[in-house]
């Protein structure tokens, strides 16, 4: 029944309409892929720090909503945990936003400063592990080369002139070296120093308080069991989570508690709607134009299903053909936007396939709506 490619030939005949439909689908695809890309980048970037903290279980203050602005809690809580069976080691982490002055423009921006005990080596960032002795020195910090450019060309300056004098929280410190992490929606730049230097930079902060308590399990211990055991050992003012739970909580915050997650979800739906409406309009116009022809086909003995399948085929053709240019443009835009925002925009094969499926689905649904018009193709009316 499909040996004459009628669906394709009909689409091809109306070249302008076909081009408009493809442009519409491509536009929707770009919109959807960009929104999803930013959304994913938001999730990935939001947990960059969490990913790199070596731990199985973490202690955080019950008042901490998200890691950018953590609420400190007593270091003693963490050391208390050392007595719990199954705990191999603990590492206290201090973290807060600190005012960093651009050494060239003197514009002040807030960078996320993480204070670690060098002896713990708690971060799986090779450049940090390598330079632990540097930050053990007084008033020395490491700076993230992939911080937003507004902080100045710190990496280049350090490579050229050695330790770089900068103002951090109003105190003169030196950037001893760099590492590579990247910004996120909540954090523009990153810096790492020792716990001692951290406390010097935040003189008003209560001594002996920490923001994250990293706990490592002895080998063979399940993080869930250990989490439950620690929960029983510490008071309720501290939340005890496994690392995956911590990551999920942080992402959930961005997805649902901030408007940003909503904006991207909304943008994706808008993209779908725009695409669906364009495809519907095009198919509806096409069906209207071909109504006498479809009625003729029915008169010849073709079934309603056959005629409907022509329209659905056209929708699938529009979906697939519109997807390809859309995906190519998105690929290019990911590069452009990734360079501009320093966000981890990545066009993964899974996302490409998912959006292709969604696009074809969107076109098919539009076709089903346009099909309602076909019922009025009454073969008895064509004489």
């Amino acid at each position: 029944m499909f040996r004459v490619p009628l669906a394709w030939l009909q689409l091809k005949k109306e070249k302008l309409r076909f081009a408009v439909a493809l442009a519409g689908v491509s536009f929707a695809v770009v919109l959807i892929l960009m929104q999803l890309g930013f959304r994913e980048a938001m999730f990935v970037s939001a947990v960059r720090w969490l990913d790199r903290m070596r731990c199985d279980v973490v202690l955080i203050s019950h008042d901490t909503i998200f890691i950018v602005a953590p609420a400190p809690f007593a270091q003693a809580r963490l050391f208390q945990v050392l007595g719990v069976p199954g705990v191999a080691s603990v590492a206290p982490i201090r973290a807060a936003l600190a005012a960093f002055e651009n050494p060239e423009t003197h514009v002040v921006r807030r960078a996320y400063l993480v204070g670690i005990r060098p002896s713990d080596d708690p971060l799986s960032i090779p450049d940090v592990s390598r330079q632990l002795s540097a930050i053990a020195t007084q008033d020395r910090v490491l700076f993230d080369e992939k911080s937003r450019p507004e902080f100045g060309p710190i990496g280049a300056l350090v490579r050229e002139g050695g330790p770089l004098a900068v103002e951090l929280n109003g105190r003169s410190v030196r950037v001893a070296g760099t590492f590579s992490l990247g910004s996120s929606f909540g954090i523009d730049g990153n810096s790492v120093t020792s716990d001692v230097n951290f406390e010097r930079l935040f003189p008003k902060r209560t001594r002996g308080t920490i923001d994250f308590g990293l706990v490592r399990a002895v080998s063979g211990e399940s993080p869930e069991t250990l989490r439950d055991r620690i929960r029983k050992a510490v008071p309720n003012d501290v939340d005890v989570l496994t690392k995956p739970e911590w990551i999920a909580r942080e992402q959930r915050y961005w997805a649902s508690t901030t408007p940003i997650g909503y904006v991207f979800a909304f943008g994706t739906v808008v993209g779908l709607f725009v695409g669906a409406i364009i495809v519907y309009q095009i198919l509806f116009a096409d069906v209207s134009d071909h109504l006498p022809e479809y009625a003729t086909l029915k008169a010849m003995g073709y079934t309603d299903l056959f005629v409907a399948s022509i329209v659905v085929q056209q929708a699938v053709i529009l979906g697939v053909c519109g997807f390809l240019p859309g995906a190519l443009v998105s690929y290019w835009l990911y590069g452009v936007a990734g360079a501009a925002t320093r966000l981890p925009l990545e066009l993964t094969p899974e996302r490409v396939l998912a959006v292709l499926a969604v696009t074809v689905g969107m076109c098919t649904i539009s076709a089903l709506f346009a099909l309602r018009k076909i019922r009025s193709a009454d073969p008895a009316e064509i004489f």
């Binding site: 029944m1 040996r3 004459v4 009628l6 030939l9 009909q10 091809k12 005949k13 006498p292 022809e293 009625a295 003729t296 086909l297 029915k298 008169a299 010849m300 003995g301 073709y302 079934t303 309603d304 073969p379 008895a380 064509i382 004489f383």
Partner: protein
Amino acid sequence: MDVPIAFAGLSHYYGSGANRRRVLDTLDGEIRGGEIVIVSGPSGSGKTTFLTLAGALRSAQEGSLRVLGTELRGAGARALSTVRRRIGYIFQSHNLLGALSAVQNVEMSLFLQPDMTSGVARRRAEAMLDSVGLRDRMHQLPETMSGGQRQRVAIARALAGEPRIVLADEPTASLDKKSGRDVVDLMRDLAKRQGVTVLIVTHDNRILDVADRIVHLEDGKLSSFADSVIEDQRHLMGLLAESQRKGELIERVTDMPLKVS
């Protein structure tokens, strides 16, 4: 001899309630195999309705209508569609598929047959177009053809599937005198060669001679063609006589000398 189309007490109505209007009134008759029948009659006489019923394009409401052995009274969409596959249609405006070439249009009717292969369909479509004199235009789109050529493609399409019945609705309506003549002659020749029954609805008197039999439909009733012709002629002669008399009067008035004082 089989009877492709037989109808008894066939009535048909449009609208419902107070607007219900009878368009066909208890028609009885049959159309025999291989016969070319023309249904004539003024517009609004119900002849197109009759054609859509005989062509299984709608189900019959009242009485009996058997087309190719299937009773169409109250028939469902599926039954109608099955009957339609054995009928060829030629429409007033050719109704070719604009996106398809002539040969593809003809193939569309061939692919309705089970087990039809692309090769066979192509050969038969080409042979059919050859027999309607369009050998050189097989791959042209309908929009690049003349009205007569399009109607010939439509004839090829209608006959390619070797239907038992061909229905034609005003096949010459959009054609000039010469193309119209060519088209009906072609229809008759091909139909006679294939032994197919042809039912033509027309009010084009110039093509009445292709018919084996002419039936006349007026106000939803079938009448003898002879009676209707005599009635028509009487009416026409009367009009002619009247206009002739008027003509003489006008001549006499114009011939009168002008006496202006």
